[in-house]
Structures are given as structure tokens and as C-alpha cells.
Symmetry: C2
Subunit: 154 residues, 2 copies
DNA sequence: TCTGAAACGCACTGCCC
DNA sequence: GGGCAGTGCGTTTCAGA
């Protein structure tokens, strides 16, 4: 099974990153192909894991989640065990939309969505700070979502 | 046109946030309904804008974009014109996957994907720092993507 | 708002080059 | 690797409750 992708695959992926409802036929038209090879390529890209999943993107403004915060977390100790334990526990927190292990003074950056400042407060108090070995917590709040895309720049 | 959504809509949206390939029939089974009302509801949620788009999520690890950075930007002046100009110009930068206007000492946080540290350097030098009125730039790099979901916690 | 049925087009398969 | 033809199924529409 080859894990190499060519320019045709990239074009297909760029289209699907913008609109996964596009039919094989429509994509084929842009490539001067028929639907079959496009269909085969998409199936191959799924099987090889390049395409992870198909999802809908919701409009955050229309749901009741007006508070977005970045929370910078520093650990007290940096043992492998503590780090892995932290990562596991973060996975389980549904409020956390993104989490990155960082290089530098801050160990982790979390992006959290909340229904209100009070909910965010409760998240910090009852969930995040319950995780063992957290040293410093530092929250900053989003005033406006300027740009947010799920598409990779491939 | 009503802009209110009920619990049935929420269940549908939660399913589609995880897998938009689920058929109306499959979703209907979970709701003890037939496909028609599920279909109608999805169409309504699209038309009302709750569903913004259908996309594929790619596996970032399989594409050649190993460098992810958070770039904290402070503006020199904070006039409306400068802020809006910055927002517009950021939209056009394909390397920027996310950008937020922040409360606090730092004005903007950008998340940037690059093919290499050198590419990131060139992005900063040739594109970002070309934007007028930028004061401070501060980059920190992602060691590991712990969690990243496009799904809202609705 | 949901059910059920009918029509259409696409996903998907198999075989050809 | 791409094209072509066939089948099943999901989407889409609509009458009725």
C-alpha cells in the first residue's frame, strides 16, 4: 500500500476540506476525469488515514458558548508519569477543545469553550485544578474569533 | 423561520459533529423516527446556519507540516482602523489556521502551521511583520498536539 | 411534525482499456 | 492508472395524518 500522494490527490483533498458534500462527479469535472478514479482515490485516502473523518462545522455564534479562553498551564514537576497523566485527563474534559504541549516556560496551552464566566470558573475550580501536579494557571479571554479554519494548508 | 432548536436537533448535531457521513436513516434509528423528519431537520439546520459546512478532517501528522506555533502579537497603537486592517490582512494569510483578538496584555494570538522552522521564520519575516503597526511578536512552539476537536460542546 | 411511498441520483462494484 | 455500465441505497419530494 503506497503512502505517497500526488497532485491529483492534493486537489481532491483541498476540495473536500472546503466542502465534503461535493460529489465524485463534481470533483471529477474539475480534474477532467470521470467519477470512478476520483471515487477510488477518495477511498484510498480514507483507508490510508489521510482523511481522518467527515464532520459538520457548526456556527459557534449561534450556540450558547460565548466565552472562549486560553489557559496556560505550568506543571510543578516534569516526570514522564505526570505529563502522561495530565494528557490523559485532559482528553476526558469535554470543555477543552484544544490542548498543546508547548516548548518554553509554559507547559500546556488549553483552549476552552464555556457558557459563561461562571461556568469557566467552575471548570477551573472543579475540573482542571483537580488534576495532580499543576503549578501555575493563567487564563486569557478571547474578545473575538478573527479566523478559524479546520483546513490544513496543503 | 424559527431559530430555536430542540433536544432532537441537538442530538442530530452531536452525531453529525462526530460523523457527517451518518445517514438520515441511521440517525433516525437512534431517535426512533423515520428518515424523513431527520432529513427535514438537517436541511432546516443548514438553512438557518447552525450547520456552517461539511468538511473532511485530515491527519496532520501525515502531511508535511511538522511545525505548529502560537504567535502572540501586540499592536503599537489600538485605533479601530489598525485593528480592522490587521484582521483583514490575517484572513489572507493561508499559514494562519486560527487567530483571536484577546483581552489582556497581548492583542492577538495566531496559530500557524509550517513545513519547517525556516518556513516559519520566512512567514514572520516576509508576511506577518509586514503588517503595519505591529509592536511585539512572541512565538512559542508546539511539542505535541494533545487534543484537537472541531466539535462544539453542545 | 411525523409516516410512508415513490423518484432520482449518487455511491459503489465489476469489468474493460 | 482511467473509463463504462449496472445495482443498490440514500437523498429528496410529496401526499396524508
Amino acid at each position: 500500500m503506497q503512502l505517497k500522494i500526488d497532485e491529483t490527490d492534493l486537489i481532491i483533498l483541498r476540495i473536500l476540506q472546503e466542502d465534503s458534500k461535493k460529489t465524485a462527479k463534481e470533483i471529477a469535472a474539475r480534474l477532467n476525469l470521470t467519477a470512478s478514479p476520483v471515487y477510488d482515490r477518495i477511498k484510498r485516502l480514507e483507508k490510508q488515514g489521510f482523511i481522518k473523518k467527515y464532520v459538520v462545522i457548526l456556527d459557534k455564534k449561534l450556540f450558547d458558548l460565548p466565552v472562549t479562553a486560553f489557559c496556560q498551564v505550568s506543571m510543578r514537576y516534569h516526570d514522564k508519569t505526570f505529563i502522561e497523566q495530565f494528557e490523559d485527563q485532559i482528553q476526558a474534559l469535554e470543555e477543552v477543545q484544544e490542548c498543546y504541549h508547548m516548548a518554553g516556560r509554559v507547559d500546556f496551552i488549553l483552549k476552552v469553550n464555556s457558557r459563561s464566566l461562571e461556568d469557566y470558573h467552575n471548570f477551573i475550580k472543579n475540573k482542571l485544578s483537580k488534576i495532580e501536579n499543576i503549578g501555575e494557571l493563567n487564563s486569557t479571554f478571547v474578545l473575538k474569533d478573527i479566523k478559524h479554519t479546520s483546513a490544513l494548508n496543503i
